[in-house]
């Protein structure tokens, strides 16, 4: 029985008797550490938001360590990756995406110059050893992640130097050799990785042997052979394939004589080749591609698959790009090409319900050229892998962990046929090794990260102002050579400034908004880190479910979700 005192004053603590939590109707606030879209989009599995968070606090080495927990080659990917992270960046809804690749590159270079140690330990002498065929980005990533998982790695590389296509097919103007050498040199020097150079599968080492001598085999041979190309069966007798020309030029600095060239294709190899030839003195370089150039109405599936910066630079340098087109006919004088007839393509719905590219009658035109160079893609060189190749000359990998049909054999990177970037190869290497490590311990495959992605609409943009994206210096067209890197270094100050532009999508900023604004004091601030990684707990005994915290959470870390709590829980 309540006895009301004189003047009806409240005794201390009595207001806590009012469990306002039971006024809550349907939803209650929940902490949801959603994936930042950069992280979700990164084929290498980097959590850009996490390393930008370290940078925001001025911890540069910690940022690098966070970065290389997924991708050991930031100096490389910062230069060559088409950075889908930037395309996905939620800052687009405010101004322009973060310059993630510039900061990534700077972190990679900073680690090299400061000599920061990779966050790995030497594996035990008797640790299981994984054989890795190929020392391209996929193989290097796999070897590194072996160390992170307590395994040893033995790499077999056919060529005299490690690096795969990073060395053989990417011009130094994009990836200077000192930067490449420094980063992969540091990685290969880690204890627990053995590198066998000039060790070619099928000649010096056999897959069957590796299967027996090693705990698992990761095939990362890349795609070393150009796809077959002809126009209605016609092939010029002096045909030069794009990848071949590129490699020749990287080795000897020479191209065959030509005044006017048509390149047929639409990938990074094609663009690199076009630019090198133009710079080498070819008067007219025309790229004929079935894809589209970026524009406001361009279908993303139709977009030319090259690093955006490279495309922009190619256009600056005077490369003519004919989009939505293909080579219909070769115009030959004897066995020599004198021109190509090109025709416009249009995507139309076929009878099978799919979109097909149809040649558009009446749009044919002739481009006079001395040379036509196919750059339509590559496939796996069969050496030592005959029985494994599918009809398209790729290795069949059947799951996210890159397993093949053969026990303990994994196929990663370009050789899978469904990849095409350095970052994808790096991601494949990491996932394959994680699966191998789990299998060796008799565990199930690691859990995929199925957290939801944080959309721009989930953020409260009131808390984020527009801040200009940092644009690093770039060599003017006239000063571009075959060696000097075209895009400049962002530098420490600008990198740290750029980090402050990160919106921390889905991640608690510890801004105290929820704690300050909760009208019921139902947000409790904790000194210790709570289970969900934040410093806040919801006291659902008193939360009325008003949603102010979720509304005022800048990053979408607080979301209103179905209320499954009952009084006394």
């Amino acid at each position: 029985m309540v006895v009301i005192n004189r003047g009806a004053h409240a005794e201390p603590g009595t207001s806590l008797e009012f469990k306002t939590g039971n006024w809550r109707s349907s939803e209650c606030p929940t902490h949801i550490h959603a994936k930042a879209p950069c992280h979700a989009a990164c084929p290498a599995g980097e959590d850009q938001q996490a390393w930008f968070a370290w940078l925001q606090e001025g911890h540069v080495e910690e940022a690098w360590r966070e970065l290389v927990s997924a991708n050991p080659l930031p100096g490389v990917t910062g230069r060559v990756c088409p950075h889908p992270c930037e395309t996905a960046c939620n800052r687009v809804s405010i101004d322009t995406p973060l310059a993630i690749h510039n900061v990534e590159r700077w972190l990679g270079d900073e680690a090299v110059s400061k000599g920061w140690a990779y966050p790995v330990e030497a594996p035990a002498e008797d640790a299981p050893c994984v054989a890795i065929v190929g020392s391209g980005p996929g193989g290097l990533s796999a070897a590194y992640h072996c160390l992170r998982n307590g395994l040893r790695a033995e790499i077999f590389e056919a060529l005299p130097e490690a690096g795969g296509l990073l060395r053989s097919a990417i011009p130094p103007t994009r990836l200077p050799r000192p930067a490449l050498d420094a980063e992969i040199g540091r990685l290969l020097a880690l204890p627990g990785i053995t590198l066998n150079l000039r060790s070619k599968l099928g000649r010096d080492v056999l897959l069957d042997e590796l299967k027996h001598s090693h705990a698992a085999v990761i095939l990362s041979p890349g795609c070393g052979e150009s796809k077959e190309w002809n126009v209605d069966g016609a092939v010029p007798t002096d045909l030069h394939e794009g990848l071949h020309l590129l490699r020749e030029f990287m080795d000897h600095g020479q191209f065959p004589e030509a005044r006017r060239v048509a390149v047929h294709g639409g990938g990074n190899t094609a663009i690199d080749l076009c630019r090198l030839m133009k710079r080498h003195g070819v008067e007219q370089v025309t790229l004929v591609t079935a894809s589209a150039l970026p524009g406001p109405d361009t279908d993303p599936n139709d977009l030319i698959n090259v690093v955006p910066r490279e495309l922009e630079e190619a256009l600056e340098e005077g490369i003519e790009i004919v989009e939505h087109a293909t080579v219909k006919r070769l115009i030959m004088k004897g066995s020599r090409v004198t021109g190509v007839e090109i025709v416009a393509l249009k995507k139309l719905l076929g009878t099978d319900g799919r979109m097909h590219r149809i040649q558009f009658e009446g749009t044919e035109r002739v481009v006079p050229v001395d040379m036509v160079i196919p750059c339509i893609g590559e496939r796996v060189k069969a050496d030592g892998l005959h029985n494994l190749l599918n009809r398209w000359h790729y290795l069949d990998a059947k799951d996210a962990w890159s397993r093949t049909d053969l026990d303990n054999i994994y196929a990663i990177g370009d050789s899978r046929g469904d990849r095409g970037t350095v970052a994808e190869a790096i991601g494949d290497g990491r996932l394959a090794v994680q699966a191998i490590a789990a299998n060796l311990k008799g565990e199930a495959d690691p859990q995929a990260d199925d957290r939801p992605e944080m959309p721009a609409a989930g953020l409260n943009k009131v808390y984020f102002g527009a801040v200009k994206r940092t644009v690093p210096p770039k060599l003017p067209v006239g000063e571009r050579t075959f060696e000097a890197e075209i895009e400049g270094d962002i530098g420490r100050l600008e990198a740290l400034r750029e980090a402050t532009r990160c919106l921390s999508c889905g991640n608690c900023l510890a801004c105290d908004n929820c704690w300050v604004m909760c009208p019921d004091n139902a947000v409790i601030k904790t000194a210790e880190l709570a289970k969900d990684g934040s410093h806040y707990l919801f006291d659902l005994d008193y939360c009325k479910g008003c949603g102010i915290c979720a509304q005022e959470c800048p990053t979408g870390f607080i979301q209103m979700k179905e209320d499954t709590w009952h009084e006394g829980d």
């Binding site: 309540v2 009301i4 005192n5 004189r6 003047g7 009806a8 004053h9 409240a10 005794e11 201390p12 009595t14 207001s15």
Partner: protein, 389 residues
């Protein structure tokens, strides 16, 4: 010691004798001299108190509320519009059952602006739950002021001492001011059991839901009712020590067998007394009502027993009803066997002078069978356009 003092000056001296811990007030005519004199006593070192100069009456009331709630003997004073600006806090003080004392120098409430005396201000807050005592003269005002501190702490209720503005506050009278030692002996130190204390925290005035509110209001009403015997007892105790009283709840004078009575509050009583003394004809009883809240129903019924007619004098009106005091007297006497007929008149509104001769007019008016149940008695209706009479 007997001294010739202005009413306000005497009140300031009386307050000082009670050793208030906190004084906060904002000046307003005709209360100003009270605050000025208190301020002067502080400045001259005769009064040691926390004198808080505030920027409004709302703040003045809030300061004394806080001070008393934390265990201080607190005092404030106001008038008219000032009382109205305090209104919200006055309800809070009473609702929280905070004992403190306030002087109201009664003044009309505008508009039209009028600085002179009637009872509209204290009547406007009559339902706030304060004890309201009215004083006939400055001696009573001094004595009641000192008594009010004791009544407040004995009842856990705030006490409003009402004295007529100008008529009392600005009038020089010979007043017997007790000595400091006498008052200290008679008035115990201030003790407030529910005082705020950091080591025993509590929250005053917090939300009370419908589950408890009616009970809280009932207990407040009962507490004000129960103050009736306390007011009488304190006055009796005062009389024992100081050999004079203030009339307890009410006083009755005049011939035992009188058939007509006149009831009034405040300084009007003195005017009526003199008027009756000079009036020829059958005598009338004079009833001086001192306690307006709590309303002394039993004492009143006893006082009017045997009367055929009772003239109730109001110094304020409730437009659309009539006299406030008159209505309350009627409702109190309702159902009483042989209750007198009530003649209710408002006089002296806004400081209109009340002459002694009014007694004759009042007494002869009851002979008129067509007289209205209520009138603004001294209004000259010929000054109004016919449609507004």
């Amino acid at each position: 010691m007997r001294e010739a003092l202005e009413g306000s000056q005497a009140i300031a001296r009386a307050v000082a004798l009670c050793d208030p811990d906190v004084v906060a007030a904002y000046p307003i005519t005709p209360q100003t001299h009270i605050v000025e004199n208190l301020s002067k006593l502080v400045a001259e070192g005769d009064l040691h108190t926390e004198f808080v100069s505030v920027e409004s009456e709302f703040s003045a009331a809030s300061v004394v509320l806080g001070a008393a709630a934390s265990g201080a003997r607190a005092y404030t004073a106001s008038s008219s519009q000032g009382v109205l600006l305090m209104a919200e806090v006055l309800f809070n003080i009473a609702g929280m059952r905070i004992p403190l004392t306030m002087t109201v120098a009664n003044r009309a409430v505008s508009a039209p602006l009028n600085i002179w005396n009637d009872h509209a201000d204290s009547m406007a807050v009559r339902d706030s739950g304060w004890i309201q005592l009215h004083c006939e003269n400055n001696q009573e005002a001094v004595d009641t002021t000192i008594q009010s501190f004791k009544i407040a702490q004995d009842t856990d209720l705030p006490v409003m001492v009402c004295m007529d503005g100008f008529v009392l506050t600005h009038t020089m009278e010979v007043i017997d001011i007790p000595t400091h030692a006498q008052v200290r002996k008679w008035l115990p130190p201030f003790v407030f059991k529910r005082a705020l204390d950091p080591s025993d925290p509590k929250s005053l005035g917090a939300l009370v839901s419908p589950d408890f509110f009616p009970e809280v209001r009932h207990s407040h009403h009962a507490a004000v009712d129960k103050a009736l015997p306390v007011i009488e007892k304190v006055d009796a105790s005062w009389a024992k020590t100081f050999k004079r009283d203030c009339g307890g709840l009410l006083t009755v004078e005049g011939p035992e067998d009188a058939k007509v009575g006149i009831l009034a509050m405040g300084s009007t009583v003195g005017t009526l007394r003199t008027g009756l003394e000079h009036h020829d004809g059958p005598g009338a009883k004079l009833i001086k009502l001192r306690a307006f809240r709590p309303f002394p129903a039993d004492a009143l019924r006893a006082a009017v027993a045997g009367l055929d007619s009772l003239i109730v004098i109001d110094r304020a009106i409730s437009p659309g009803l009539g006299g406030i005091l008159g209505s309350e007297v009627k409702s109190t006497l309702y159902g009483m066997p042989n209750a007198p007929r009530i003649h209710n008149h408002a006089i002296g509104l806004g400081g209109r002078d009340i002459p002694e001769s009014i007694v004759g007019d009042l007494l002869s008016s009851i002979e008129d069978p067509d007289a209205p149940a209520f009138s603004v008695f001294d209004a000259d209706l010929s000054m109004l356009p016919p449609e507004d009479r």
